[in-house]
Amino acid sequence: MTAGETIRLSDIAHGRSGDKGNHANIGVLAYTPAGYDWLRRHLTAEVVARYFAPLRPSRVDRYEAPNLLALNFILYDVLAGGASRSLRADSQGKTYALALLQMTIDRPENYAAMLRPGGNRHE
């Protein structure tokens, strides 16, 4: 394992996103407890807010669901008006989970313990 190598968030987590009015939610679920531990420490609300900065979230909240090895993010005011009013093709934030999962991260040291048991075909 070489220092400086990177992986995608999708190597250690899956997710799903949708809308709540003009806000989007993104559930990010680790494949293993080690991955969840990494998410909790590194995938902070600030990191997610910075990643989605072009959408100009007014606020990002993060909730923990340890039973699902998951974090849930609420991105406020990112849908340009929400399902009814937004002029965007994706007015409901349906694509945001896949966008977040494409995030490049520094390869964690115990990376092998974070991978999906049985492999991961969704790349």
Binding site: N25, N67, L87
Partner: protein
């Protein structure tokens, strides 16, 4: 009954028309639920009812019900619960009644649940000091009063339970919290009390998982390539035990997948604080449940905890907010994204030349990363992109003029502009969403059997 099997065959108005039939035929169901009402569906239905007092409900339901009749004959104990009533549960029930009678099912009772429509008494409510302020912005409803189209309380499971107690085989509701469609039959069958918060949370969580149909059974799953035959996806079933433990599964022989990943992804779908998922029935704690794979297509969910329901109902309000139209052109060739943006600007420039400055417009180059604008840059130069240009304006005429300005670009823009085959974009009215809260005490759900 020690276990009740509830299948959801419809996740929204527009969902697959065969799914409810396959589910009812092969799912060994006690209850079939059908969910039709997205946040703004009610506003569309409200306008339909304004034009025609017999209209204002989800007409797809009648098509489904007609095709369900042979199955209902073969399965005399199968019950149907749906929010297809929309803005006119009685109108929907009258049509459903005629349909069942024609099919020789006149013994099946139909019940309606209403009382969710606040619009008729909205001025009285405002006058009595219920501000119905916007939950997001705090703005008082009076600001948009003149433009209101619909205002509906999300009712809970209670009135559906009452309908089932009166012997209804088909329950047609107006606006009801989606999860309550599933919770209600479990409450009815097991006699769960209205303050048995853990059980109510279990039924609510089951309802949340199945309310979007195939999203629990392989739809949207990140590892969807592993789902066998997603084209023949089976819709979800919640098999709920008396103690609140339940299983998510799907009919045998159907495609898709039910595993801890599909169920956990759906648990978080459109959720805020997962430890306090609020419905009119309960505050359900999604962080309390344990998921385990019990069989190849069965996930067991147990340990649900709940807290008392909120003391106010959520109200979904819609108001008129101008007009919108959206059109696309295909732009091919070198520098396609830049060329597409120039094309979009030309359209707006020509509108300005005609004296129209649109209040809001948006240019997107689909194929160049604009789905999540600015977040994911295109890795390589795409050979073509779709230019999507969308506008909104309070003046219908301005939007209509816009709709006529795409076609000219096929001959008066750069080379490589094509794909203008679907015709002029259609102009539609915008209904903006206004979430609010109201005291439970002012709402009286009504149950009627026909």
């Amino acid at each position: 009954m020690e276990q009740v099997r509830i299948g959801n065959g419809c996740g929204f108005w527009g969902d697959n028309l065969d799914a409810p039939l396959i589910l009812a035929e092969r799912g060994r169901l006690d209850y079939l639920t059908l969910e039709y009402l997205a946040e703004l569906t009610m506003s569309i239905l409200a306008l339909q009812r304004q034009r025609d007092p017999q209209a204002g409900f989800a007409t797809d339901f009648l098509d489904v019900l007609e095709r369900l009749c042979p199955i209902l004959r073969a399965q005399p104990n199968l019950k149907v619960i749906t929010n297809a009533g929309g803005m006119n549960p009685a109108g929907c029930a009258a049509k459903a009644r005629a349909l069942l009678d024609r099919a020789g099912l006149s013994d099946r009772r139909i019940a309606t649940v209403s009382g969710d429509d606040l619009l008729p008494c909205i001025d009285q409510l405002l006058a009595e000091g219920h501000p119905l302020a916007n939950l997001d912005t705090g703005q008082p409803l009076a600001d948009v009063r003149a433009r209101l189209v619909s205002a509906n309380v999300y009712l809970g499971a209670g009135p559906i339970v009452a309908a089932l107690r009166q012997g209804a085989a088909v329950v047609i509701t107006g606006r009801v919290a989606d999860a309550s469609l599933t919770l209600a039959p479990a409450m009815y069958e097991f006699g769960w009390a209205e303050d048995d918060w853990d059980r109510l949370a279990a039924g609510t969580i089951a309802g949340h998982i199945i309310e979007c149909g195939a999203q629990a059974t392989g739809g949207l799953w990140c590892n969807w390539q592993e789902a066998p035959d997603l084209g023949d996806v089976g819709y979800p079933i919640a098999a709920i035990d008396r103690d609140g433990t339940f299983r998510i599964t799907k009919p045998p022989g159907t495609g898709g997948a039910v595993n801890c990943e599909t169920v956990a992804e759906q648990l978080l779908y459109e959720v805020g604080d997962p430890s306090a998922y609020l419905t009119p029935d309960v505050s359900a704690d999604f962080t309390s449940v344990r998921l385990s794979q019990e069989g190849p297509e069965t996930v067991r969910v147990e340990g649900a905890r709940g807290r008392p329901a909120p003391d106010r109902y959520k109200v979904s309000i819609a108001y008129r907010d101008g007009f919108t139209a959206s059109g696309t052109l295909v732009i091919f060739g070198p520098d396609a994204p830049a060329k597409a943006r120039r094309c979009g600007e030309m359209i707006l420039q020509r509108l300005r030349r005609a004296g129209i400055e649109l209040e809001q417009s948006n240019l997107e180059c689909l194929g160049a990363g604009d789905c999540v604008p600015g977040v994911i840059p295109a890795a390589v130069a795409p050979p073509e992109v779709v230019l999507r240009i969308s506008v909104r304006d309070s003046r219908r005429g301005a939007v209509e003029r816009f709709a006529r300005e795409l076609a000219p670009l096929v001959t008066s823009g750069p080379p490589g502009v094509t794909g203008y085959t679907t015709g002029r974009p259609s102009v539609r009215e915008v209904f903006a969403y206004w979430p609010a809260l109201i005291d439970r005490t002012i709402v009286t759900p009504r149950v009627e059997v026909c």
